[in-house]
Amino acid sequence: MASFKPTKIQVYPKLGEKVTQDTLYWKNYKAPVQIKEFGAITNIDFSPVAPHNFAVTAFTRVHIYGPFSQEPVKTFTRFKDTAYSGRFRSDGQLLVAGCEDSVVRLFDVSGKVALRMFKGHTKAVHVTDFTSDSYQILTGSDDYTCRLWDIPNATELNTYQEHTDYIRCGVTSKLNRDLFITGSYDHTLKMFDARLDKSVMTMDHGHPVENLLLYPSEGLLVSAGGRYVKVWDLLKGGQPLVSMKNHHKTVTCLSLGSNGQRLLSASLDRHVKVYNTTNYKVVHNFDYAASILSLGLAPDDESIVVGMTNGILSVKHRKSPEESKETSGQQRRKPSYRVFVKGKNYVPKQDDYLVSKPVKQHLAKYDKQLKRFNVSKALDTALETWLRRRKPEITVAVIKELDRRGTLKNALAGRDEQSLFHLLNFLIGNLVDPRFAPVLVTTAEMILDIYRSVIGQSPVVDRQLLRLQDLLEREIDYQKDLLEVLGMLDTMFASSIPRKEVPCSGISRSNGLGQGEASTSRPQLQAT
């Protein structure tokens, strides 16, 4: 006696992105913590030393947050106007920030008052950074100049006036104390050597440059500007390597993750994209609620911090390994399981006669009814609210199975107002889904056939039928439009494929069969 074969629930491929190792990795974050700041968040910088606090520059303040605190552990408010670019020194002790009032302020992380004020710029300073020897400061300003300052004396060391527009980004080399690169709205990136008076390298980005990033090896430079992210090979004299156009608005911020294995870019289009740095393909995508101005990534990707134009700071922390396991483990083990385990691990002795207990087949509720040929009840159980809402594919599979058994009509017939209402509701919800349409259209036809004689007796059912009709009309119009588009595409493709001469044998030509024109096309979407 063969055992009952349960109804086969069709597994539909998930639409959209495929599950890859990367998506699993980047999805493994907790729900974001959202903190409201006073204005647009222009810069986020992580402290290089543990516990990796991060400085958030927003409006006239720079807040320092601890890795898990939702309240700032420190606040710097001594700015006369909007602050910009609060950055840590490599030892995490000092913090520098520019300001709209053209003064650059240096703070001790534990103090409150500015240690030094660097005055000399004539316009807002958007770029500040420490050089790698940590005794100098690089600043870039809207007065088209970038300057180097000495920290102990608070004096200006050098001024470079090569850019012809606002300087909005800059980065210092971590390996060489004399090298730094600035990017400007004049579309150029310039590399300066502090030992010389002028730039040593100039690269044209093609768009106003918004952000710069140096690889840890400092062989590659990444620049963001306009909708483009470009990678430059510095060792080959600033040769462009890759140009990526994955955002549809200006890219505002760049960051490196996973020890330089992944590159993240944030944009005003509210997306953060993750690239693989070996092939520069997008491997993951985050969506945010507003345009993103700044992005920070803690070491080892422990948290992702994103600052947006509406002043909301979103902090996502990585799930600990136990947490990520727990969620899957909980579903598997149920509390009553332990009861059945009893005696399972008993090892029979040599003389014991083993009576094998038949394994009980677990069947779903609808399968139990199907096994007994109770078709109406099987449909009832499949139409239970939970299944209907959450797993319409199960309901559809049961309907399909009933149809295969030739008993769908019996199952649909003889229903009262309430259950017919639910049935129609389900149809309205799922009829236009292309995965379910072939099954549900026949079902809808059958329902109309069966209940044609009683239409008009129940206002509830009538309303549902009208909704169904409306839905179908809309769907038909939609399909028509789609077909039109398809026709247009076909003509375009047909004209773009070059006609190819097919070599023909003598026989086929003599038989009057001209050269065959092969119409070939790659498959669009394959369900597997």
Partner: protein, 835 residues
């Protein structure tokens, strides 16, 4: 045309075993089934075929146990003879010639020397009018006897053997046909007929389908087309008969059977549910559902402990009386048609074709045994006639046997075709195919052809399917998996079309670099690497039917057959027609391990076979009139061991064997003389005694166990006889202190004696049969046991009787030969090692 005397067409395996009711021997050890032109004897404990009873020259239509001797059986056949067999040894004892084709045979213990056969007496006048005839079997010593004494009992009976049955120890006989139940009482010499109305109130048919008689009571149970069972009583008069109706089946009752004590009635039908009705308490019934296929016959063993149901899928199920399936004997499942082609599984070297609905069957040709069924559809099969369900329509293996592709299809009236393409991966651990990818709706219309790329060096496997929607698609295994736990799956690689024509056949070249797809009358050749259309070949005006690349040295040739009876051979190097010949080829296939190709041609109602090499003008072999009708399915099966035939005409059979299916779904093959000789030699050793455990140890110690278990169990042994190590006796022997045991010399002599008996005893008494020897041995050994009653009291005299009647059939030389074989039998030793 050369005459090939040494190559013959023979039936090979896969015959029906569900054609007639299986017959169980009185000791429930053997099962006799009419199977084609022979009777097969199966062991009920091991489900193996013990031997075939061969001798009939036409379809065997019935088998019964001789009522007066339980070790002999009658069989009747459409060749007009009734034969008497000793089924334990497989020896033909007597042949009774009736002269008319016989449709069924019946016998009863109360009619000694008489068998009742259904035959058409006046074949020339009305061939459809059948009669039940009593045949008095003449007593005579001759092998071949003509039975002259025929007397008609009933006229106008059904040809179905289930429609005639003896009641209550042979007091009456009941026969049904159409709407008539006829009862003939032997004592009164009178027949009563009872009629039913044609339709009942609901317009369903009342026609009788089968009949069964209660063994103790005057009660006849009849099954009807509308699923009802009627129990007739008081039928020994014309007027006051009564019947009661039982109804559970929703379609025709195909078989009915009472248990020997008459306590239960078993019924079965197309629902494949065995229903057990309690006699006189008919509202109590028990069910055994999902037996796999429609039940065609039900039989109960004489002691009532086992039920046997034979099913429409060529299966016999053995069911214990507690309604628990204990075993199944499965033959090759042959439906009305083979929708998938015949295929060879490259791993198990078994024949693969569609079997049970929704399954693929793997059938070993060497062992003539079904290996297993692969459930392709994985859906509950609803046993109801007229329901459209998923069927496996196409299947293909790749060269290494790692991948299997199947297409299942469900056609519904007024709805589009539902198609599923499934790809199965061979799992080394479980040694079976595991579903890897399901592609629902791979094409928009029916799939016409499918093949794997058969090159062995190619890393990636490729599958091509052609469909009536005008496209062919290439499917490929995705090399990379996105995550670690996800296994590689199949996806579409290329979609091709040609002038919106419908592709029919597809074929890969031997190295896998070219793909030929036929679009009606045009053959297109594609490069599989770049998917470019390389060339087109055609031979109008008719569509291409078959397409086949040459192999090995002939791989530059592409062969095709067209609708207007042309066989064309194109040379792909020159892209021109090499040769063509006019013949109506119904099937063209290539031998995968040689250059040979076989073409089955239809000519004047029968099929001719040509075996040729594409490069040579003369065929290697040709045979006219291989079989009547059209051959549509054939396969080259590689041999396990090569034949060394040096004759030129049979060399093509050296490395592979050609199997084909005829119109009547008979599996046939070609054999050579060399092969037959070898088979003959090996079959002599194949006669194995079923009682494997009958070892000298068993003779010495087994009787103790038999005493313990008592007589009740001795008759049946569905479970294997336990080997002596585990028995109580040997434990006793080992655990009792040595000083209590009899002396070793005494035990030893007993042991040695038991070894000697088989050699010395039969020579004196001139006994031939093995069964005889067993019972003899038992008698010999169980002197002290005789007081408590022998284990098989009725068997010993019966066995002797059988031997006596068999004796004249055997010459002394044969007896000696048998004894030699018996001595050679060391199978018990293997049994000991196994445990």
């Amino acid at each position: 045309m050369v005459e090939h005397g040494d190559i013959r067409v023979v039936h090979r395996g896969g015959s029906k075993i569900n054609f007639r009711e299986p017959v169980i021997t009185n000791d429930s050890k053997f099962l006799l089934c009419a199977s084609g032109e022979c009777v097969k004897v199966f062991s009920t404990s091991t489900e193996e075929c013990v031997h075939d009873l061969r001798g009939h020259t036409d379809l065997v239509t019935g088998v019964i146990i001789k009522p007066s001797n339980h070790l002999q059986a009658y069989s009747c056949s459409a060749d007009g003879t009734v034969r008497l067999w000793d089924f334990t040894d497989g020896i033909l004892i007597k042949t009774y010639v009736i002269g008319h084709p016989i449709y069924s045979i019946h016998a009863s213990a109360s009619h000694e020397g008489v068998v009742f056969v259904v035959t058409s007496m006046h074949a020339d006048k009305r061939p459809d009018l059948l009669q039940l005839v009593a045949v008095h079997l003449p007593r005579s010593g001759d092998q071949m006897v003509e039975a002259r004494e025929l007397s008609a009992v009933l006229s106008d009976v059904s040809s179905n053997p289930l429609a005639i049955v003896f009641g209550r120890g042979g007091e009456y006989i009941a026969s049904t046909k159409g709407l008539k139940l006829e009862v003939y009482l032997f004592r009164k010499q009178k027949a009563y007929s009872f009629f039913l109305k044609e339709d009942n109130k609901k317009g369903r048919r009342n026609t009788f389908t089968c009949v069964a008689c209660h063994p103790k009571d005057d009660c006849i149970a009849t099954g009807h087309e509308d699923g009802k069972i009627r129990l007739w009583r008081n039928f020994n008069q014309k007027k006051e008969y009564t019947y009661s109706t039982l109804h559970w089946h929703h379609s025709a009752v195909s078989s009915l059977c009472f248990t020997p004590e008459g306590t239960n009635l078993l019924s079965g039908g197309i629902e494949s549910v065995l229903v057990q009705w309690r006699y006189n308490q008919e509202d109590q019934r028990e069910f055994l559902p999902r037996l796999g296929a429609a039940i065609t016959h039900i039989t109960v063993s004489p002691d009532g402990s086992l039920f046997f149901t034979s099913h429409s899928d060529n299966k016999i199920t053995i069911i214990q009386s507690c309604l628990k399936v204990s075993a199944a004997i499965q033959g090759l499942v042959k439906g009305e048609s083979v929708t998938t082609d015949l295929m060879m599984d490259p791993r198990s070297k078994s024949l693969v074709l569609n079997g049970k609905p929704g399954h693929l069957q793997f059938y070993s040709l060497q062992r003539d045994k079904l290996l297993y069924n692969l459930d392709v559809v994985q859906q509950e099969y609803i046993h109801e006639s007229g329901l459209q369900q998923f069927e496996v329509v196409k299947a293909a293996f790749d060269a290494s046997g790692n991948w299997l592709a199947t297409v299942e299809e469900r056609k519904q009236k007024g709805a589009e075709v539902e198609l599923n393409l499934k790809l199965w991966e061979f799992d080394e651990q479980t040694q079976s195919f595991v579903l890897n990818t399901t592609i629902s709706a791979p094409h928009e219309a029916q799939i016409t052809g499918m093949c794997f790329c058969h090159s062995t060096d190619n890393q990636t496997t490729m599958l091509v399917s052609t469909s009536k929607d005008g496209h062919f698609k290439a499917w490929q295994l995705d090399a990379q998996a996105h995550t670690e736990d996800e296994r590689p799956s199949w996806s579409c690689d290329f979609v091709g079309a040609y002038h919106s024509l419908v592709p029919e056949c597809c074929c890969f070249s031997a190295d896998g670099s070219l793909l030929a797809v036929s679009f009606q009358e045009v053959v297109t050749v594609w490069s599989t690497a770049s998917w470019e259309l390389l060339t087109t070949l055609s031979q109008p005006p008719k569509a291409i039917r078959n397409l086949c690349f040459g192999r090995l040295s002939c791989s530059k040739y592409l062969l095709g057959t067209t609708g207007n009876n042309l066989l064309c051979c194109w040379n792909l190097l020159t892209c021109s027609l090499e040769w063509s010949t006019s013949m109506d080829v119904s099937l063209l296939l290539a031998d995968p391990i040689s250059e040979n190709m076989a073409a089955f041609c239809r000519q004047a109602g029968s099929t001719d076979l040509f075996v040729f090499k594409p490069s040579e003008p003369r065929p290697l072999f040709s045979q006219k009139a291989v079989c009547p009708g059209k051959v549509t399915r054939a396969i080259f099966a590689p041999r396990e061991e090569m034949l060394e035939s040096c004759e030129e005409s049979s060399q093509w059979l050296n490395r592979s064997q050609l199997y084909f299916l005829t119109q009547h779904m008979d599996l046939m093959t070609f054999t050579t003389k060399v092969e037959e000789d070898r088979l003959m030699a090996s079959s002599k050793q194949l006669v194995i005694d079923d009682t494997v455990a009958m070892t000298p140890f068993y003779l010495l110690l087994g009787k103790h166990r038999q005493q313990d278990s008592g007589d009740a169990q001795s008759g049946i042994s569905t479970e294997r006889t336990p080997l002596p190590q585990g028995s109580v006796a040997i434990k006793e022997l080992l655990q009792t202190p040595a000083h209590v045991l009899p002396s070793t010399s005494f035990l030893c002599s007993m042991f040695v004696q038991s070894l000697l008996i088989s050699v010395t005893e039969p020579r004196e008494e001139n006994k031939a049969t093995e069964e005889e020897m067993e019972s003899e041995k038992e008698e010999e050994d169980s002197e002290e046991e005789m007081e408590s009653g022998t284990t098989r009291p009725e068997q010993a005299p019966l066995g002797r009787h059988a031997a006596e009647s068999a004796a004249p059939a055997l010459t002394k030389a044969q007896v000696r030969e048998l004894r030699r074989v018996k001595k050679l039998d060391r199978s018990w030793f293997a049994g000991l090692l196994d445990s």
